[in-house]
Symmetry: D3
Subunit: 341 residues, 6 copies
């Protein structure tokens, strides 16, 4: 079976319980996640062999990361130990018209202090067929960006398919560089890309006329420009999210392949249990779809959208639904939502 | 006042907390319930004297069942002790497009190991006016099916009204018999029946043209065939549930009496707090309605539908709303939903 | 900056956890609140200096009240200690068609046993610009009504703006007086009033033709009559709440100033996390709006409505959103509801 | 079998979770108890038919009391409904050198507002053999004291054995009477009494030389004086508690019958899970012992001490251990404490 | 490094939270464990490669077992899927003089329904050096006993060291055989045995004069008889537990090797957080000790006792302390118990 | 009344719930504390006006710190906002022989990035009589050490009494300086010092013969050397802690003033609810004692020891007992530990 390697940071996520605000919380729910690790966990849960390349501190929290990855069957040989701290992010879950809030506390983490040469990329990517990275990694620190480039180049030389979720984060990119230059270099080796209009605009100045993040036509125009700019891209996708409120979104996706655009059905996500990791679960679903439904781009897209629609009903960063659940949903969402007994 | 006896198994229900998956749950919420006991608890809460005939093991868990029944005022003289274990079922509550999951672990329970002659039916049914059973009981084991037939026959000889919720469960009926033959015999003594299209099809091969479980016309056609097949049936009802997703259903009911069909108002159940026991609460509401609004089939149906609509807002298997709350809701649902202070 | 003094009781609120009924609850969530204290906390959170005049018992629960007020920056110099008990109210949170229930247990509280002369109003109101009271206070006891009148008169003599939320509660007014006479006297000194049709009808016999509590025209007619009856009123407002069910309401507001009526946008509140304190948060928003957008009645109203729409997403009695969050929502609710990261 | 009626108030107990202080608690654990109800629950759990005479308000909290009593098999026919509120007490559990704190909020309760004539004592005591009251009841209000005297007189006329736990509470007796006079009248009809030195001193001015509450000799001297003062007393007992700290007490008992004194073994209670209701569980154990080991005062005492030692390991007011567990402990405490599997 | 294979059942453990009784628990804490799996998890946590041979059902609960084992690094290749249910046991944690209670519900489990030939022992034991089983396995069912004998014989033929914890359970052995005959056959291939006096008496009728389970001399006498009966035993050990109460035990161990007896220091375990799995943690410590301190039986014993003393401070079945923590404790328990910061 | 200013960092403390290990915790209890803030909170709770000088980030977590301080009545005018993050520390609470573990994650915090000149010391110390700092502050960063020296010098110039808790932490002092030189300079202005043998040895190379941290004679010898080295010290104290295990310590104190040594009673702390902040509570008790019992060094010491003994029964960093509770304990610990009702 095809094997996928993901590269990125795993953080301790501390979220307020129930609908509490930061100022109301006498405790925090804890889980461990990060954009790329979420992809690896979802793939492993779908039954795709997946491993993570990362770095965690040599303390009990770093060990919790390893335990959590192992629990879900993600390979941890590529998770190095060292550095001073595990990155943390605090999450206050929104509801109704109150939006979710994120406080990042990830500077100076074991991962952010990666340096070129620390990772033995040849060893970590040996035996893999796919390499996945996201725009969060180069946004963290120069060292992480450098390591990412190292990895992408080795993946390239080994003939792996490379995928990327652009994942622009306005609160990162704080180490004094131009995202554009860095991202352009990394993109040059990438074959599959998840790019929303915000990402494309911030990274590459790509914009279409009008601006409606959930408009298929607008998204298609953006993806076409992106593929023009980076012609080695085989498949470009975007998610179509319309925010009714923090508890209710519409959700769909768009895929561009070989010049042809495909649009998915739209799902009304209501209620949303946990919106974090929605894009990651889409990315994992897409990789699964491209690997399993090779000649059926529509089905690959639909699988990605259904998988990520299900993710919104699950607490935590990672999508824990199985391939069978996603396939069952593709047969009809309202049937799938009945009790089985 | 009229007294109702119910016969069926009580299980320990272990449900995942909040919106957690089985694999995310470090603890389970515990309650005690079962289709027929839920009817008894709801009736007792409405103020109808109700008692349960059942069997639990002679250990602390069996005692918890007795305590819970007593707490709600259900008579427990007919709950025998003996056998090896209390049946268990595990519940993962769905949300959005993720459906609820049930894992039954009820084989070899104290109830499943009932044998003919164990229950002194004359003693347990003395002084009662109504006997309620459901299709789950004969589905559990041959012994339970035999005991059920014993009970129905004694109820018949004592002149009790007999009601049944067909309650087909695909995960039961594992002991190597034909549901059809057994159910047909039990149905021959039954006067009031709750039958959904799935039940009627699986048990009696009854189907109408087209298949839409929430279509009143379709349901009416099914009920008419059922009454034709079992002409001693006085009142046949079905629930009309449309699944938007696991958190949002439409809900109504249909009643057939003396050849005339009645349809209830439809309620949008959103959010659903706990969907389990929805049908049981409908059944209890129907019995209450038939006993209290004797010449008003429409009101009996409306009461059953409103009672069960309220149940979907309550955690646990059993409907704990009072008759006054249901009657208040019959005056107007949106008024009923305001804060009283 | 303008300073606001509020006068009213603070109670211990004991609410059932999650969606549990009273009879299902082995514990209660505890918080401390009351209509007028909720206004003070919301104002302090908006950055308006606010203080509370009240009375709590000299025990650990009374001290919890003081701690909670201090925590939110509300001045507590006017909170006297004495009396026998802290008022309590029990709350069972509704969901779907099941309404919330309140059990008041506030008789004989430290506040209810206030007597004229106990409060040094000159000292407590010195340095303030605004005095806020509500119809709950005179409803509690004769002593509280007397103290309220004392306070209003001192506020009047010191030239403070006086505001009132009529807040009719059918479960109070149990001490054998006519609400009409008492309220009329208190109203005579009041410049800003929040009055819903129910309030106006119960207190002053004011009614328009037809009766639809969420009909703007009906509400406007009521407010016009009210201002006619109490011509010193400068600004009269009402909230427009339509109850779809206990988890979903529509929400808006109407404001009458200088003979002109203003209507706010309508928000669909779905899901509602906590409906208690919705009116108080509207009142605080209104005071903030009138103080900050002096010549823009429309914006003051919109701020009040947006603030209180956000409140419905927050657990507890008090609105804990900041002015920046409300202003952000005025720019567009669905944008505001996205994750910021 | 002999039947026991108990008379007293049931309150809602709200205790801080874990080891939290009042000021640290965002929620309270809730249970329902009271000195005499605790005796009834313990007796019912031992298998002795027991019923309670009391009064609760006609609201959901009053119903919770009835449900809890029914759950444990206590007869509730004598629990009247009416009045305004359920009495409440707040409990902060101590640990180490930090003592537990109780805040009573029971004035004006449904029980405190009992009036003579409200209870049909002949009906409630019919068929019973034993009547139990405690010194808390007359301490609550004049009406409760009057009702208690009524009950005792009817019990006397019906030939019931009457028992009393003196239970002096310094925070009660607030309604302006002399405890001594009232208690002396009630004691004149009482045959079995639990009296600790503090009780005897506060109520009857009885004291021995020296003062060591856990000294058997001192306690014996007090009991002898008490029996001298009230010669109808058949059996007088006291508990011997030495407080090492709030988590560790020594525990034993002393019994005086027919002029002879019996001393129990001493148990080291460490850790104490819940100390509240320790005396009540002793009283229930004593009644059980006197009813079951008629000619063996030593065994009756030992049973009472072992039962109450076990109570200290159980959360909540009431002792929920079975007679078999107590008898097992009488065979050897350290053996009893092993896991059974 | 030496590799250890363990064979036994993994169950879902459902324990009451805090100090609650079964009848007080509205939820249960869930974890997954079993005597032999606990040994495997502890060994893996010490850094010894360990794998489990077992059988779980092909449902979400069976998957939870696999996830939990993987999380701790235990090899799961030998965990077969199939059968109907996961065994369950319910645990009520004792405190003070109230003992813990276990309700087994493990009959008919996937493991209990093992049959000869189901396990490919050659494959599962290949590459291992040690095979561990316990007396619980043959106590479960004939099929489990047969499979155990199969495994032991293959282990023998492959030259593995075989260890056993006799682990007598009076609530098992319900399938109608003589424990003695079965155990004698299994013991004949076993080199390292943990045997307490109760085990030795029930299985082999071995007893010394007097009977004091925590008396070293008595235990030594028993072990000497055991070794005489089964001369292939190289090392025999027993634990020395004295029960002060359920929260406080004394703890030590005795080891017999080459005719020489070794006694460990005694630890006062107070408070005990979780006593379940104490013996399993001793066994794992012993295996670690025998593998790592080959010529130092005293140190191996001391390690086993210190490891299992630490286990009593950890919730759940399995010992999660690392080798470094145990070694640190061997340097001095009171020093080890200080905060490190 | 005398006013006390404290200077130090406040962190978010994240502790594992119950007795769970890091690897077992799906959530963390959150509170806000730090050595010097703990002193301020305890003093404010005793009724001594106290304020804190510190720095927190301008985000929701920084605001939580301000809210928590205000709640307890600590002055927050000196708490500056700025910087990137709030320091965090993770705590795994020990039990029995398993010690507590601390993982510091405080580097790069808002406080650690203090620079000279950031704090307006004249403004912050105006109106105060006492300045308290601890050895943790200079251990954090060069900037914090510099700011501390600034503060001490201003305090000196304003004539404040200066106190210090040496508080050596082996996991800090990571920024490449010699603790000795820095601490010696800071100590030169300090009048009251809490110094344990470990502190004195690490900072100043002071040691007596033998080494027993809980030996009064050894501690006295160390304090005498310390006072010799820093002759401006008026009062030197040490705590005497003997660790039986993580749940049971002995606790006392020693005070040296004007050449005379005073020893406190010893308390057996068992169980310990929370050991963190024990020394801080001692320090706060000492400051209270020295301010209130000016000529009674013995009483000041006894108060400090009793206060901190009580602290060990309270969750969280800060001691929340009142002066009255401490004084009550000075009258007799076992009396104080009884229930008051």
């Amino acid at each position: 079976m095809k094997k996928v390697a993901c590269f990125g940071e795993v953080m301790l996520r501390l979220s307020t319980p129930g609908n509490k605000l930061f100022g109301q919380s006498a405790n925090f729910n804890a889980c461990y996640g990060g954009a790329e690790a979420n992809v690896a966990v979802s793939l492993a849960t779908f039954g795709i062999p997946a491993s993570l390349v990362s770095r965690v501190p040599a303390n009990d929290l770093g060990e919790c990361v390893l335990q959590e990855l192992r629990r879900h069957g993600v390979g941890t040989q590529g998770v190095y130990t060292g550095g001073d701290r595990l990155g943390v992010y605090f999450l206050e879950s929104g509801a109704g018209f109150r939006s979710s809030k994120v406080i990042y506390d990830r500077a100076h983490s074991a991962f952010a202090e990666l340096k070129p040469g620390m990772i033995d990329w040849e060893a970590q990517l040996a035996g893999h067929d796919w390499f996945h990275w996201s725009g969060i990694t180069p946004a963290v620190s120069q060292g992480a960006a450098d390591a990412c480039l190292e990895g992408i180049k080795v993946a390239h030389s080994l003939g792996l398919t490379v995928s990327c979720d652009l994942n622009y984060r306005s609160k990162l990119w704080r180490y004094g560089v131009s995202p554009q230059a860095i991202m352009a270099e990394l993109m040059a080796y990438t074959h599959v890309v998840l790019a929303n209009p915000d990402d494309a605009r911030h990274y590459f100045g790509i914009a279409a006329s009008g601006y409606h993040i959930d408009d298929p036509a607008y998204n298609e125009a953006v993806l076409r420009q992106l593929v023009q700019a980076f012609p080695q891209i085989k498949t470009a996708v975007s998610t179509l999210r319309r925010t009714v409120n923090a508890s209710h979104n519409s959700w769909g996706g768009l895929l561009l392949q070989d010049g042809e655009a495909y649009t998915s059905p739209t799902y009304e996500l209501n209620p949303i249990i946990d919106r974090v990791g929605g894009g990651d679960s889409f990315m994992a679903g897409l990789i699964y779809g491209l690997l399993n439904f090779e000649n059926d781009a529509q089905k690959a897209l639909n699988y990605a959208v259904a998988a990520s629609a299900l993710k919104h009903s699950i607490e935590g960063d990672a999508n824990l639904v199985k391939a069978a659940d996603v396939l069952h949903m593709l047969e009809g969402a309202s049937v799938a939502a009945r009790v089985s007994r």
